[in-house]
């Protein structure tokens, strides 16, 4: 089945004049900031992490990294933040040049690398397949994080943890579900584009 659509120009001369005056550059100037504003607003509006740990301001940084770029095809919004695509598309993360990934298990570990800590010990156990392997890192006596003030807030929080508290889990991969709603939908973009074009046509 095919369908033909005839477009009959019933636009008033005034509207035709205005549309002709709308250069690609002006159209991009209308659309780009509108789409960027929507994107940044959505990124900034994402909550903190689900485990209730302190915020590392990941989404603020993602919003800051967003930019708009106009070209002959239109306007592109780019988000230049490590980890943003994984949040959007989902996927599997595997260690590179290492055997395990380290997953933070406490608020004190969240946002930090295991290498920043001293006084952590490896503990062993059985994994889901029944194999005995290193399972993670626990606190031992004298746990410290590099670059913190002895007796300071971060140091005190760390020292308050019981000896044997699991700080990091070792895993061979992590699987992430896609979260397409961290960015606006096509319909939402369409709505702001429509409004922006109407504004430019005025």
């Amino acid at each position: 089945m095919s369908q033909e659509v005839s477009i009959i120009d019933k636009a008033s001369p005034e509207l035709r004049r205005r549309m002709a005056a709308l250069s690609p550059q002006r159209l991009n100037a209308a659309i780009g900031p509108a789409c960027l504003r929507l994107t940044q607003s959505r990124l900034r509006g994402q909550g903190t992490n689900q485990r209730g740990f302190h915020s590392t301001q990941f989404w603020l940084q993602a919003a800051d990294s967003a930019s708009q770029h106009a070209d002959a095809d239109g306007t592109t919004i780019r988000v230049q933040k490590i980890g943003a695509r994984l949040q959007f598309d989902g996927g599997t993360v595997v260690p590179v040049n290492k055997k395990y990934l380290t997953i933070p298990a406490t608020d004190e570990a969240y946002g930090h690398r295991a290498l920043e800590f001293s006084g952590l010990v490896v503990f062993w156990g059985k994994d889901k397949e029944g194999r005995i392997r290193p399972m993670g890192l626990k606190t031992d006596e004298g746990v410290e994080r590099r670059g913190t003030r002895p007796g300071g807030k971060a140091d005190r929080a760390l020292k308050q943890l019981q000896i044997g508290t699991v700080m990091f889990w070792f895993v061979t991969e992590t699987n992430h579900l896609p979260h397409p709603n961290v960015l606006p939908s096509s319909d939402e973009y369409f709505d702001v584009v429509k409004t922006a074009v109407n504004m430019a046509l005025k």
Partner: protein, 346 residues
């Protein structure tokens, strides 16, 4: 639609950082505040950092955060690679240690210790956010059509800081500190800039809005009202560790808020965009003072600058800067404290 698959640089932000010249100096943050904003924008510095290797490492690290790369992984998957905040912190700690840095006695782990976690986080965050802020500033202002269709900005109330300005940490938890709030700062900036339309919009709606060409953005960045934690830029972040940002407002919104009359023509801020990205030729002489200071520092047996040595060149540099600005102002007939019209930005 946004693209996450083929990252390409936020050109304006990367350029802002890439064109910065590393400036080793023993000056502290208070002394750096006396240096003209145009020079600071063109310089990569950190309070009391004399080691060029450390400054280079900071620049490389922040560039990686701003402009992640792509890597083909086994299985044919493309991965985005670069520093995240934690790996950036570790890499800089290692570099600083390798450069033989010693923290000032009794200051280990504090913000005055270059090797401390809070200081490195502050350096990376501030340089990254400032470069991105400069990039957005250019995108918002350099195109006449964008300025015409999106003539105003709103300073947003969203604040994800651990201790937002307007609150302070006490033993009993966070308590209000209204004298230090962004509302107080905005009111001071309005008064300083004399923007009556923005003032009226604020009184009527409580919204912190102004035309892009309003002086309120510079006043906010300059810490009008006496604040000293400002970053001297007319774009966010306006102060250290601030998570407050701006968003563009359309012509319709600006007219509705009374910032513009219907159909009124608008101007971009009077600013030479290239001045954001390069050191003005005339300022090279001032920069050489910084270079001389670093060269004159005591060094260890390996030739590395001894970081804890204190050589206070600040008054000389500040006076030279002021003198230079005064001479330029006399020559070009501008007020020395008016950054928008300042010859350094021409």
């Amino acid at each position: 639609m946004p693209t996450l698959d083929n990252p390409t640089p936020f050109t304006e932000a990367v350029k802002f950082l890439a064109d910065k010249k590393a400036v080793p100096s023993s000056m502290g943050s208070a002394e750096w505040r006396q240096v003209q904003a145009g020079i600071k924008n063109s310089s990569l510095f950190s309070a009391r950092v004399l080691n060029l290797g450390v400054l280079d490492a900071i620049q490389t690290t922040v560039k990686s955060v701003l402009n992640p790369g792509q890597e083909l992984r086994p299985g044919g998957n493309m991965a985005t690679v670069g520093f995240d905040p934690a790996s950036a912190r570790l890499a800089l700690m290692d570099t600083i240690e390798a450069e033989g840095y010693k923290a000032p006695e009794g200051k280990e782990g504090t913000i005055e210790d270059l090797h401390s976690s809070p200081r490195i986080d502050l350096i990376v965050k501030t340089n990254t956010a400032t470069a991105q802020g400069a990039g957005h500033y250019v995108q918002q202002n350099a195109n006449a059509d964008v300025v015409d269709l999106w003539p105003a900005l709103e300073f947003l109330d969203d604040d994800s800081s651990e201790v937002p300005r307007g609150e302070k940490q006490t033993k009993d938890g966070l308590v209000e500190d209204p004298e230090n709030s962004w509302e107080a700062r905005w009111e001071a900036a309005l008064e300083d800039s004399g923007d009556d339309d923005a003032q009226a919009a604020y009184e009527a709606t409580g919204r912190k809005v102004a035309l892009k060409s309003s002086g309120v953005w510079e006043s906010l960045g300059e810490g009008a009202g006496g604040w000293t934690d400002n970053l001297d830029n007319p774009f966010p972040p306006f102060a250290f560790n601030s998570t407050r940002r701006v968003q563009e407002l359309s012509r319709d919104e600006a007219e509705e808020l009374g910032l513009l009359d219907e159909g009124e023509a608008v101007d971009a801020p009077k600013m030479d965009w290239s001045a954001l990205f390069r050191l003005p030729a005339e300022a090279e002489a001032i920069m050489s003072l910084f270079a001389n200071e670093a060269e004159d520092q005591p060094r260890d047996a390996d030739g590395k600058v001894i970081q804890t040595a204190r050589f206070n060149a600040a008054p000389a540099i500040a006076n030279s800067t002021d003198g230079f600005l005064a001479r330029m102002a006399a020559r070009f007939g501008h007020k020395a404290n008016d950054q928008r019209d300042h010859p350094l930005h021409k």
